[in-house]
């Protein structure tokens, strides 16, 4: 609750961000800051290993921001999110290999398949609430993986290999540094997109559903459609993440899409702060980089990783950077007067004695 501490310390200044510190964190320039950091990173460290880790982290940010739409905005606990990434990765792999297409040309197919997958998985399950939904999504995640494991078109357990890299206007972007930049640009746009969706009419409807489904329904929000929309957007973000993943590794197999991966993406969302895009980006970076920083520890690293996660959740259960309900209000004069502007058909003048 520490994000509330500042406001309570300055109760008379309600309506303004409480401190310079918190204002910095609410700043709109912060996204640009993160973007610049991501752009500068290869100039500091451009070893193939660092580029590999960096690209993986960037793709992971995309997955987390997609899952944030489903879990953070809409409050639907999805334990099989990686299934959408698998759908995207396999679709782009299969289509690009079968017709010898550049991988970017598979994007329409990826989006269509992800929307279909979102409808097929979400359609029957979104009538369920909370815990039941979590169990069913867990099952669907496994179904997708097992299907990929047993079909011949997906290459069975050995998967698909030799997936082409990214090519754009004749430029080959499959080298590690250009591909990293490509991912940074694409993911930045998609993260911005998910943040913007969160602040729109649809995004508010998602939050209303998360907060109180019945009240949302009473206000005319078709909760089923709205939840399905969250699922489909999450699926598209996940699918595009899968496409980048396939282009990055050039080989995919069912082992890439196990439950642990779903759990890690979910962890990034929860750890970062559900519903806040910035927090989720921080969480995704932490989850993907922490095991690498701990690599020197050998086998102990996952133990330490686990301890760190538990510690964070105990000390800061709302996540590093939770979404903070705050809005800049009109100036005091305006809101205190209860005096609406001209052309007001329901002027509260009659209730002036209230």
């Amino acid at each position: 609750m520490s994000e509330n501490v500042d406001t309570s310390r300055a109760p008379r200044r309600i309506g303004k961000p409480a401190s310079r510190f918190s204002r910095l964190f609410e700043s709109k320039q912060l996204g640009w800051g993160a973007f610049v950091v991501a752009i500068v990173f290869p100039f500091i460290l451009a070893t193939p290993y660092a580029m590999n880790i960096g690209t993986t982290a960037v793709i992971f940010i995309l997955l987390a921001s997609g899952l944030n739409i489903v879990v953070g905005y809409c409050g639907l606990l999805d334990l099989g999110y990686i299934a959408f990434m698998a759908v995207g990765a396999y679709t782009s792999g299969i289509v690009s290999k079968a017709w010898d297409l550049p991988i970017l040309f598979t994007i329409p197919a990826v989006l269509v398949m992800c929307i279909l997958a979102g409808l097929i998985i979400g359609g029957p399950t979104l009538r369920l609430r909370s815990d039941y939904l979590a169990i069913v999504t867990l099952g669907f995640g496994e179904i997708i993986r097992l299907t990929a494991n047993n079909l011949s078109i997906t290459g069975g357990p050995s998967g698909i290999y030799g997936i082409p890299g990214i090519e754009l206007f004749g430029l080959k972007l499959s080298d590690s540094v250009p591909f990293y930049y490509f991912c940074v640009v694409v993911v930045s746009l998609l993260v911005l997109g998910s943040a913007r969706l969160g602040k729109s009419r649809l995004g508010r409807a998602w939050r209303f559903v998360r907060e109180d489904e019945d009240a949302a329904e009473a206000m005319g929000i078709h909760t089923y459609k709205v939840k399905l929309a969250a699922y489909i957007f999450g699926a598209m973000w996940g699918g595009l993440g899968g496409m980048l993943f396939a282009a990055h590794l050039s080989a995919i197999s069912p082992q890439s899409f196990v439950f642990l991966q779903s759990a890690l993406v979910l962890m990034a969302v929860v750890l970062g702060g559900m519903g806040n895009t910035r927090g989720v980006v921080v969480g995704a970076v932490a989850i993907s980089l922490l095991p690498e920083f701990l690599r020197d520890m050998g086998n102990l690293r996952y133990v330490i990783f686990g301890v760190v996660l538990v510690a964070v959740m105990v000390l800061r259960p709302q996540g590093f950077w939770p979404s903070r309900a705050f809005e800049v209000e009109r100036t005091d004069g305006e809101s205190e007067n209860a005096d609406p502007g001209p052309g007001d058909s329901v002027s509260p003048a009659k209730g002036g004695t209230l």
Binding site: R207, F326, L354
Partner: protein, 276 residues
């Protein structure tokens, strides 16, 4: 002119219990109708049925001549029905303004493409939503902070926000389920004023209320329910004199008079509607 809300022979059963058993009543535009009755009489069940949260066993609900029986709540809201809940049902982690915007979902004005690219349509509709939110908060006389989470507000303010959210729906039919519960005396006076203001906008106001002084003062018509059925329907004075009502609800014959006396005393104290 046909009434705005027509409830005909409405029946709802939970297992073997008939919570509402043949309720019939109506409400006109520009009218305040109170639904009263002892606990367990089926008032809230009837509201939940009118707004689609419960599916009736039989009977019909017409709003503006349109049959809405058994539709889903969102579809019923779209025909112009709005409501508040007996126990506050706000969106606790969202700001006051966002809560009020909740009532504006059906205004439309933008789709997800607008949101992704921040088109002029998006900006325009967001500005409109914000203006409207402020306007409705002004309308209900809300004076607290507006950019803060609604969970931090006092109970009376939360009630106001819920009213603002319901009004932002701009509905023809406003169903208020015990809007006065948990409010103090002056807050109740404000509520009465607000009910009248809503009526003056041309909406039909149907409210469930336990406080007899509120009911008798504000309503044009009172529907008394007992055992899931209306037992009386008329002006407050008619209902007060109805022997069935006295027996079923008021218990003692002298109670309405006592209430009225108390009410008159309240008016004398606060001649202009309860300003402190």
């Amino acid at each position: 002119m046909s009434p705005l809300l027509e409830v005909n022979e409405l029946q709802i059963a939970f297992g073997g219990v008939k919570a509402v058993n043949g309720l019939t009543f109506s409400a006109d535009a520009g009218e305040i109708v109170s639904v009263i009755g002892p606990n367990g009489a089926g008032k809230t069940s009837a509201f939940n049925c009118i707004t689609g949260f419960y599916k009736p066993v039989s009977g019909t609900v017409l709003v503006d001549g349109q049959d809405i029986t058994g539709k889903r709540p969102a579809a019923i809201a779209a025909t112009g029905v709005t409501r508040t809940f007996q126990n506050l049902r706000l969106f606790p982690d969202l700001t006051v303004l966002d809560n009020v915007r909740g009532g504006m979902h059906l205004y439309g004005g933008q789709n997800f493409v607008d949101a992704l690219f921040h088109t002029p349509r998006y900006r325009k509709s967001e500005a409109y939503y914000t203006d409207e939110a402020h306007r409705w908060l002004d309308f209900v006389g809300y004076r607290g902070g507006r950019g803060i989470p609604v969970r931090n507000l006092a109970y009376g303010q939360q009630r106001q926000v819920e009213m603002a959210r319901a009004m932002a729906r701009k509905a023809k039919l406003v169903l208020l389920d015990e809007p006065g519960a948990g409010l103090n005396h002056s807050e109740k006076r404000e509520l009465l004023q607000l009910c009248r203001k809503i009526r003056d906008l041309g909406a039909a106001v149907v409210l469930i209320e336990h406080d007899m002084s509120v009911v008798m003062e504000v309503s044009e018509r009172v529907v008394v329910m007992n055992f899931g059925k209306e037992i009386a329907d008329g002006t407050p004075d008619e209902v007060k004199k109805n022997p069935q009502v006295i027996e079923a609800y008021l218990g003692k014959a002298d109670e309405p008079a006592a209430d009225e006396a108390k009410d008159a005393a309240g008016r004398a104290e606060n001649p202009d509607g309860g300003k402190l």
